[in-house]
C-alpha cells in the first residue's frame, strides 16, 4: 500500500515537473518571440545583465589561464599537427547531424543533402571523420545551429549571457545548446568515461586551434569582457546571414557619422557627407569575381 502510494506520488511529481517544464518552455518562447527580452537592449542598454555576466567572464578567463591554457600548450607540443587536424575533423563530423537538421529547419534542403552526403562520406571512407574527404570531393562544409534557426524564424536575440565554464551565449541560443547534444552521436555512447574523454578532447583541440587568437585578444583588448561580447554578437549576426549580412548594416550612421558635427570646422576635409545625395544614387557594382 505504502509502495503504491509512493509510486503514485512519484508519478504526480513527474507529471507536475513535466507540466512546469512545458509551461516554462512555452513562456520562454513566447517571451523570446514577442521580443520582450530585447526591449532592454533597444532602450539603450545592450547588455542589461553585465553586472552578472562580467564576474562570470572574469572567472572563466581566470580558469582558462590557470588550467586549460597550460594543458593546451602541452597538447600542442606533444601532438603533431596532423593528428590534431584529425581530431578537429572528427569533432566537426560529429556535429554534422546537427547542421543537417538545422538546414532542413531553415528550408535549405539542397544544402542539407550536401551535408548528409558529407557526413556519410566522412564517416565511412573518411574513417569516422578523421579525414575530411567530403571537402576534397567538393562537398562544402556548412555551419548551422538552432540559434541561427530560431533567429531565422523571428525569435529575438534576448540578453547577452555569460555562463560559467561555457562562456558567451544569448537567451535565444541556450535551447540550442541542449537540443544539439541530442543530435551528436557522442550523446548515445553509454559509457560516461568515453563520452567525457571524447568531449574533453574536442574542447582541448578547439582551444588549441585558438592559442594564437587568444594571445592576440590579450594584446588588443582594453576591456576584455566588452571585446568578447561585441565579437560574439557580431559574429553570430554574420553567421545568421550565412556570411552575407546586408551591406547597409555595415554602414550604421551612428557609427560613422554621429560625430561629424564635432569634426566640422576642425578639418573640413570629409567629402562623403557633402556628396551624400549624389553618391547614394551611384549604382551598385556587380561582383567581379
Amino acid at each position: 500500500m505504502q509502495k503504491e502510494s509512493n509510486h503514485v506520488y512519484a508519478e504526480d511529481l513527474r507529471h507536475h515537473f513535466r507540466t512546469c517544464f512545458h509551461s516554462l518552455l512555452l513562456i520562454y518562447f513566447l517571451v523570446l518571440f514577442s521580443g520582450c527580452v530585447t526591449t532592454a537592449q533597444t532602450n539603450g542598454n545592450r547588455d542589461p545583465l553585465e553586472k552578472i555576466n562580467r564576474p562570470i567572464h572574469n572567472l572563466n578567463h581566470a580558469l582558462d589561464t590557470a588550467f586549460l591554457s597550460p594543458v593546451v600548450k602541452v597538447y600542442v607540443k606533444v601532438l603533431p599537427k596532423l593528428i590534431r587536424s584529425g581530431v578537429s575533423n572528427v569533432s566537426s563530423n560529429l556535429g554534422e547531424p546537427n547542421v543537417i537538421i538545422n538546414n532542413i529547419l531553415q528550408g535549405k534542403l539542397n544544402i542539407a543533402m550536401n551535408d548528409a552526403v558529407r557526413f556519410i562520406v566522412n564517416s565511412t571512407i573518411g574513417l569516422g571523420g578523421i579525414f575530411d574527404l567530403g571537402t576534397q570531393m567538393g562537398l562544402e562544409k556548412h555551419h548551422e545551429d538552432y540559434g541561427q534557426t530560431f533567429a531565422l524564424w523571428g525569435f529575438g536575440e534576448g540578453p547577452y549571457l555569460v555562463l560559467p565554464l561555457t562562456g558567451p551565449t544569448t537567451l535565444r541560443d541556450i535551447p540550442g545548446s541542449f537540443l544539439s547534444s541530442f543530435t551528436n552521436p557522442i550523446f548515445y555512447i553509454n559509457d560516461d568515461a568515453i563520452r567525457f574523454a571524447i568531449g574533453s578532447l574536442g574542447t582541448l583541440n578547439t582551444r588549441a586551434n585558438n592559442i594564437d587568437n587568444v594571445k592576440n585578444v590579450d594584446e588588443s583588448a582594453v576591456d576584455r569582457y566588452i571585446f568578447v561580447r561585441e565579437a560574439f554578437r557580431n559574429n553570430r549576426t554574420f553567421n545568421i546571414y550565412d556570411g552575407n549580412p546586408p551591406l547597409e548594416s555595415m554602414l550604421e550612421d551612428d557609427l560613422y557619422f554621429d560625430d561629424d558635427e564635432s569634426f566640422e570646422g576642425e578639418e573640413g576635409e570629409m567629402e562623403g557627407k557633402a556628396e551624400d545625395d549624389k553618391t547614394s544614387e551611384t549604382p551598385t557594382h556587380d561582383s567581379e569575381e
Partner: protein, 229 residues
C-alpha cells in the same frame, strides 16, 4: 564559398563550450594575424578605393616575407607610414570614443590620437610576422550611401579551400580614399573598439583608457624583444 570560409578553424560542433566560444575572436584576430596576400589586388580592382587596399596589402606582403629578419621594430617602421597613408587614423580615433571626443581637451585629443595610432601600427607589426601561403581574392565593390565604399575580399588559406571574409569600408578625405573600418567575418573593428573605449571612459575615465592602450602597446614590444621576433 563563404560558408566554408567562415569556419576556417572551427571543425567542431557548435556547442558553446569554452573553447568553441573562443572562435568568436578569430575574425578580429585574423585581421592582424599571420596572414599574407599574394594576389595583386589592383589586377582585380582598378578603382581608387581598391588601390588603397592594394597599397596596404602589398606592403603587408613584403613585410611578412621579411618579417623574421625585420623583427618587430623593423616591421613597425615599415608599416607605420603605410598604415597612416591608407587609414584615416585621426578620424577612426575620434569615432572610437564617440561622444567623449567633444569632452576632451585639445591636449587630450592629440594624446589620444597619437596613442591610438601607435596601437594600430603595433597590432599590425605584431601579427603580420610570417607568410604561410595565404592570399586575398577580390569579391566585390559597392558604392554605398554618404560616399562610402565597401570592398569585399575573401582571404584564402594556402589550401585554397578555407577562407574568411573581409569587408573594407572606405570614404574620401581631401579627395583621397582612406580605410575607416575593417569588418572581418562580421566583426567590425571600429564598432568593437568603440564599445570597449567608451565603456572604459565611462567607468574609469580617459586616463585609464590611455594607460591600458599604452600598456598593451608596451607589452607587445617587450614580448617581441624577449622572443627575438
Amino acid at each position: 564559398m563563404h560558408k566554408s570560409s567562415e569556419n576556417l578553424n572551427d571543425r567542431s560542433n557548435h556547442d558553446h563550450d569554452l573553447s568553441t566560444l573562443l572562435l568568436v575572436f578569430l575574425p578580429v584576430i585574423c585581421l592582424f594575424s599571420s596572414i599574407l596576400f599574394d594576389t595583386p589586388l589592383h589586377a582585380q580592382s582598378k578603382t581608387d578605393p581598391g588601390a588603397v587596399v592594394d597599397e596596404l596589402q602589398s606592403t603587408l606582403i613584403e613585410v611578412m616575407k621579411e618579417g623574421p629578419e625585420l623583427l618587430y621594430s623593423g616591421r613597425y617602421e615599415r608599416l607605420e607610414p603605410i598604415i597612416n597613408n591608407t587609414h584615416q587614423i585621426p578620424y577612426i580615433a575620434r569615432l572610437t570614443v564617440s561622444k567623449y571626443w567633444k569632452e576632451m581637451s585639445d591636449d587630450d585629443k592629440d594624446l589620444f590620437q597619437s596613442t591610438f595610432s601607435k596601437m594600430v601600427v603595433s597590432n599590425y607589426a605584431s601579427r603580420f610576422q610570417k607568410y604561410k601561403g595565404e592570399y586575398f581574392k577580390f569579391v566585390s565593390e559597392d558604392f554605398m550611401k554618404r560616399g562610402m565604399v565597401i570592398l569585399v575580399f575573401d582571404l584564402y588559406w594556402a589550401n585554397g579551400i578555407d577562407s574568411i571574409r573581409f569587408n573594407y569600408i572606405l570614404r574620401q578625405f581631401d579627395g583621397k580614399w582612406k580605410i575607416v573600418n575593417i569588418i572581418v567575418k562580421g566583426v567590425s573593428d571600429l564598432a568593437l573598439k568603440r564599445a570597449e573605449f567608451t565603456s572604459v571612459i565611462e567607468n574609469e575615465g580617459l586616463e585609464k583608457l590611455l594607460e591600458r592602450i599604452t600598456n598593451n602597446t608596451d607589452e607587445i614590444r617587450l614580448k617581441h624583444k624577449e622572443q627575438g621576433t
